[in-house]
């Protein structure tokens, strides 16, 4: 008798989208390059140049995208999740090495951390039933998300105190990016840069929402916080040209759905 197919919740689809986006954002920095400015991650162990060759890029892409597709449909778990995570780690370290920074871009590190947290959560509860494993892993991922946003908030406050919220640095950042945009976007950025109260509001809102990420520890507060964070990332996209798609997709996925296949609607309450 054939096993009925599990319905894939839309949260898992959103995670898959974030993972695919992360791959292309990451790999475009290293695919085909021979120029590495820093030694990060796997570059400590092997010469990154052959890994970054085009044949290697196509092979790694095939492996990664196949594993993401299989993971999404719940096949060959946990291997497909683990392999996808490892390959994305390789890409992330090649990316950081290529761009010369200690870490890859945020679009890559966020889904990487989320997938890792999900798989670790499921492994911690490997003796439990599938619904319990999914419910536990869901909470682990939510906890990690909360920590990330609180870390972002505390980083700002520890560097500059509350002066980060006065809006002046943001005005200058947006002003610089107005030159890179054609009208009307460039005009919009210029207008923002010349409106001190709006920049103050946007800066304060950013710090507030990031600090309020701790709300993700409370299941009932997740949707509200997610609704608050979406305007923040919309602002980043419009004013700074930073399209951080996973950072919008994954809070939505975790607030209104789940990555778990055992709970198509919502995870079992834990507390």
């Amino acid at each position: 008798m054939a096993r009925p197919m599990k319905r894939v919740p839309f949260g898992r689809w959103l995670m898959a989208m974030a993972l695919v986006e992360a791959w292309f954002v990451s790999s475009r920095e290293w695919a085909g390059t021979h120029l590495f400015r820093k030694v990060v991650g796997i570059a400590h162990l092997v010469d990154p140049t052959p890994l970054a060759s085009m044949p290697s890029f196509f092979m790694l892409s095939a492996i990664y995208l196949t594993c993401v597709a299989l993971w999404t449909s719940g096949r060959l778990l946990p291997f497909t999740g683990a392999i996808a995570w490892i390959v994305l780690m390789i890409s992330a370290s090649l990316e950081a090495s290529a761009i010369g920074r200690p870490n890859p871009t945020l679009d890559v590190i966020f889904p990487l951390v989320m997938l890792g947290a999900w798989e670790v959560g499921r492994q911690i509860k490997r003796a439990a039933s599938e619904p319990e494993r999914d419910a536990f892993a869901h909470e682990v991922v939510c906890g990690v998300l909360a920590a990330i946003f609180v870390l972002a908030c505390t980083a700002k406050l520890s560097h500059t105190g509350m002066s980060w919220t006065d809006g002046n640095p943001l005005r200058l950042l947006v002003f610089e990016r107005s030159f890179a945009a054609t009208p009307p976007l460039g005009d919009l950025r210029l207008a923002f840069a010349n409106t001190p109260w709006l920049a103050r509001f946007a800066s304060s809102y950013t710090v507030l929402v990031q600090g309020a990420g701790i709300c993700f520890l409370w299941p009932r507060a997740r949707k509200l916080w997610t609704l608050a964070v979406i305007p923040m990332f919309t602002g980043f996209a419009v004013l700074m040209g930073m399209f951080q798609v996973p950072w919008v997709l994954l809070p939505i996925a975790l607030s209104w759905s789940t990555f778990g296949l055992s709970h198509p609607a919502k995870p079992a309450p834990v507390g």
Binding site: T33, L35, R37, V40, G41, M89, A92, S93, A96, A98, I99, G100, P102, N103, P104, L106, I109, L112, V113, A117, F136, E139, V140, C142, G143, V144, A146, A147, I148, F149, V150, L151, A152, A155, K156, S158, H159, T160, S163, W164, N168, P169, L170, R171, L172, L173, F175, E176, R177, F179, A193, N194, I214, F216, L217, W218, P219, R220, V270, G271
Partner: protein
């Protein structure tokens, strides 16, 4: 009520994750998630500018670059610059679209440099003074 209480697994995961990242700092795959945190005193900055024959241009509109300084250019030193990544991005473009050895330099004088932006009481301003970082030659893209 149980539904209104904090999720204990989430709390533990958050605490462990935060402690690990704070302890290790910005070393892959750990991160402080600083995200433009270090903006204290950010009231002036270097804005990266590309010029072809003295006019604003983008490196992607040119090929067959020549001139060693172009291939060693780095982001401005001694001044704050939030778009230094643009220098490295352009450098990668120029290196992958470099002229063949011995090839005649292109007709276009290509420059990478910066101008200073500043936040004044009247609002943000940009200086007219172009400060070059590197220059060479190139051919317009076909």
């Amino acid at each position: 009520m149980a539904a209104a209480s904090v999720s204990r697994p989430a709390l533990v995961a958050a605490a462990l994750f935060a402690m690990a990242n704070l302890a290790v700092g910005d070393t892959f795959p750990f991160s402080r998630y600083a995200m433009y945190a270090d903006l204290e005193g950010y009231d002036s900055s270097a804005l990266i500018v590309f010029r072809a024959d003295g006019k604003p241009a983008q490196p992607e509109a040119f090929r067959r670059f020549s001139g060693e300084p172009l291939f060693h250019v780095t982001s401005p030193q001694g001044v704050r610059c939030s778009m230094g990544w643009r220098v490295f991005e352009s450098r990668r473009w120029m290196e992958t679209h470099a002229a063949d050895p011995g090839e005649e330099p292109g007709p276009v004088q290509f420059q990478i440099g910066y101008v200073m932006t500043k936040l004044t009481a009247e609002g943000p301003t940009v200086s007219d003074e172009f400060i070059p970082l590197a220059e060479g030659h190139a051919w317009p893209a076909p």
